[in-house]
Amino acid sequence: MRTAFIEELIRLAEEDERIWLVCGDLGYSVLETFSNRFPRRYLNAGVAEQNMTGVAAGLALMGKTVFTYSIANFPVMRCLEQIRNDVCYHNLNVKVVAVGGGLAYGSHGYTHHGVEDLAVMSAMPNISVVAPGDPVEARAVTRIVASRPGPAYIRLGKAGEPVVHSKEIDVRYGKAIILREGNDLTLISIGGMLANTVCAADKLAEAGYSVRVVSMPFAVPLDDAVIQAAAVETGVILTVEEHGFGGLGTAVGESIARSGHAVTFVPLRLGRTPIKTSGTQEQLRALYGLSTEAIVSSAENAYLHCASTSQRSEK
C-alpha cells in the first residue's frame, strides 16, 4: 500500500504544487522518489513528531497541503495534541499518514502495533479517518483526501498486500464499496482486513451462504446508508478490523442503534488484552479471531443465532 500511496502522491504533486511531504525520519526506500523529484516540497523533520506536526500546521497555514508520514503510532500518538489543537481545531490541510497500521509490524512488538488509531482519530473534530483495504483503495483515497480541504488521517498497510479489487472501482468520499451483493449476511471490513474478509466470504459462499461484502475505507464520515441497508436486507452484520474498541465496530454499532433496525451484529476486533508476543501479522490476527477461518466460523454462528432468534420470535 505504501508504494501505491507514494506513486499516487507523486502524481498529485506534479499536478498541484501546494502538496508537501513531511516525514519523521522514516520512509527509507519509499520516499526517495518524492524527495528527489520535489526537494523543495519535502522535509525530513527528524525523530520529532510533535515538531513535525506543528511544522505541518504552519505550512498548512501558509496554504500548503501537507502529508505527514511515519510508521504505525508514531505520527498519531506522540503528537496527538498537535493533531488536535493545531491541525483539527484549526481545520488545516494536514493529512496524517501512518504506514504499517494495524498489526503489519507484527513481530516488532506492541510499540509498533497501530491498533488504537481509528478510535483516537475518530474522536477529533473536522478530520476524515480513512483506512484503505488494498493498494487500489490506497491510491483512490490518497487522491480523494488530497483534493478535499481539511485534515485527514490515512492508515496504510505496509508492503505486499494483495490487490483485492481486480476491476476498476468507484471510490467516493465517505462512501463504502460494495464488492458483492448477498442476502444472508453482510461482512464489513476496514483497512487491511479486506483480503481475509473476501476469502472468508468465498468460503461462506461455498458453504451455501449469500454474503454481502462491503469495504468501508472511511471510518469518518461513515456510510450510514450502506449499513442500514445491510441491516434491513441481510439481518446479520459482522464488522472486521485490525483494531480495538472504538473503531469500525463501535461506529457501525452506533449507526445500527440509531437506525432502530433489529439485526444480529458481531464486531470482530482485537480485545482489551494487549498482544505482547511476537508473530507474523496473520498469526497475531488469529489470536483475536481475525483469521479467515475464524471470520467464517463467527459468521456461521451469527447466522445460526439470527435464524434461531427469528424462529423463536415466529413461535
Binding site: 515538531n51 495534541e81 484549526h90
Partner: protein, 273 residues
C-alpha cells in the same frame, strides 16, 4: 508606525490598564503574565511588526504567534487598540458567546493561532517560517513564549529544527519573568544558562531588559542578528510589572483583582505613563 519611545511606553501601560479591566470584569486570571510582556507587545504591534489592521490576512504580513496563550487578554487589547477590532469588544472578554476566550483563539482578526496548551507556538512558527523561506517571501515570523513553557519537549524539537533549516526569518521572544505556574523557574526546572543553551543549539541569542523600550525597539529592529540563523531574544522581565503589589508574585498568575485593587493598579499605571 512612528511612535516615540515615550509613546510606546504609554501604549504599554494602556495595554496593562486594558488587561487589568478585562481580567477584573471577567474574574479571570493570568494578569501577572500579561503585565510582564506588556512592553514587548507594545513594541511589537506599534514598532516591529509589519501588519495592517485593515488587511489582517495580507499574504506578506509578519506573523505573530502568542505561544503563552494564557496571556490572551493583553494581545486582544493590543489588537483592539491597534484597530483590528473595536476596543469596546474587549468588554466581552471571557463572556458567554464572545470570541475573546481566556486562552487565545483564532478567528479573532489578527490572531494567527490558538494556543493555551504550551509548547505549540514555536513548531507552528517554524512551519510558517520554512514556507516563507522556500517561497522567498520577505515576511518575518515572531513567536512569544513563556519561560515555564520551555519545559515542553516540543519546543526543544523546534529549537533543533530552526537552525537546521536556517530560519533567519524567525524570531523567538522568551518572556523570562522567572515565575512559572507553581513556583520559581529556578526551583521547578532551572533554564539557566538560557541564552547559552540557545547558542549551543546554533541560534543567535540576545538578552535584553524586557521593560526597557529603547532596548526592545533596537533589538527587534536588528533581526536577524546573524545571517542564516534564527534569532532569540531572552527578555528579562518581572511578572506583574507596573503594578507594585502584583510584581514578582506567583499569586497574580491566578488572582483576579478586586475593584479597589483595580483602582490602585490604574493609579500606578497612570503615574508611570
Amino acid at each position: 508606525m512612528s511612535q516615540t519611545i515615550d509613546e510606546l511606553r504609554h501604549l504599554a501601560n494602556r495595554l496593562r490598564a486594558d488587561a487589568v479591566h478585562m481580567v477584573h470584569r471577567s474574574r479571570a486570571s493570568h494578569l501577572g503574565s500579561c503585565l510582564s510582556m506588556a512592553d514587548i507587545v507594545a513594541c511589537l504591534y506599534w514598532n516591529t511588526l509589519r501588519v495592517n489592521p485593515k488587511q489582517p490576512d495580507a499574504h506578506n504580513r509578519d506573523r505573530f504567534i502568542l505561544s503563552k496563550g494564557h496571556a490572551a487578554a493583553i494581545i486582544y487589547a493590543a489588537l483592539a487598540e491597534r484597530g483590528f477590532f473595536p476596543v469596546s469588544e474587549l468588554e466581552t472578554y471571557c463572556e458567554f458567546g464572545s470570541r475573546l476566550t481566556g486562552h487565545i483563539t483564532s478567528g479573532v482578526p489578527g490572531v494567527e493561532l490558538s494556543s493555551g496548551s504550551l509548547g505549540h507556538g514555536l513548531p507552528v512558527g517554524c512551519g510558517i517560517a520554512l514556507a516563507g523561506k522556500r517561497e522567498e517571501s520577505s515576511f518575518r515570523t515572531v513567536v512569544l513564549c513563556s519561560d515555564g513553557e520551555l519545559d515542553e519537549g516540543s519546543n526543544w524539537e523546534a529549537v533543533l529544527f530552526a537552525p537546521q533549516h536556517e530560519l533567519d526569518n524567525l524570531l523567538l521572544i522568551v518572556d523570562y519573568n522567572k515565575v512559572q505556574s507553581f513556583g520559581r523557574v529556578k526551583e521547578v526546572l532551572d533554564l539557566d544558562p538560557l541564552a547559552d543553551k540557545f547558542r549551543a543549539f546554533r541560534w543567535a541569542a540576545r538578552e535584553v531588559d524586557g521593560h526597557n523600550m529603547q532596548q526592545l525597539v533596537d533589538t527587534f529592529a536588528a533581526i536577524p542578528f546573524e545571517p542564516n540563523k534564527p534569532s532569540v531574544v531572552i527578555a528579562h522581565t518581572i511578572k506583574g510589572k507596573g503594578v507594585s503589589f502584583m510584581e514578582d508574585d506567583l499569586a497574580w498568575h491566578y488572582k483576579s483583582p478586586t475593584a479597589e485593587q483595580v483602582e490602585c493598579a490604574l493609579q500606578e499605571l497612570e503615574g508611570v505613563a
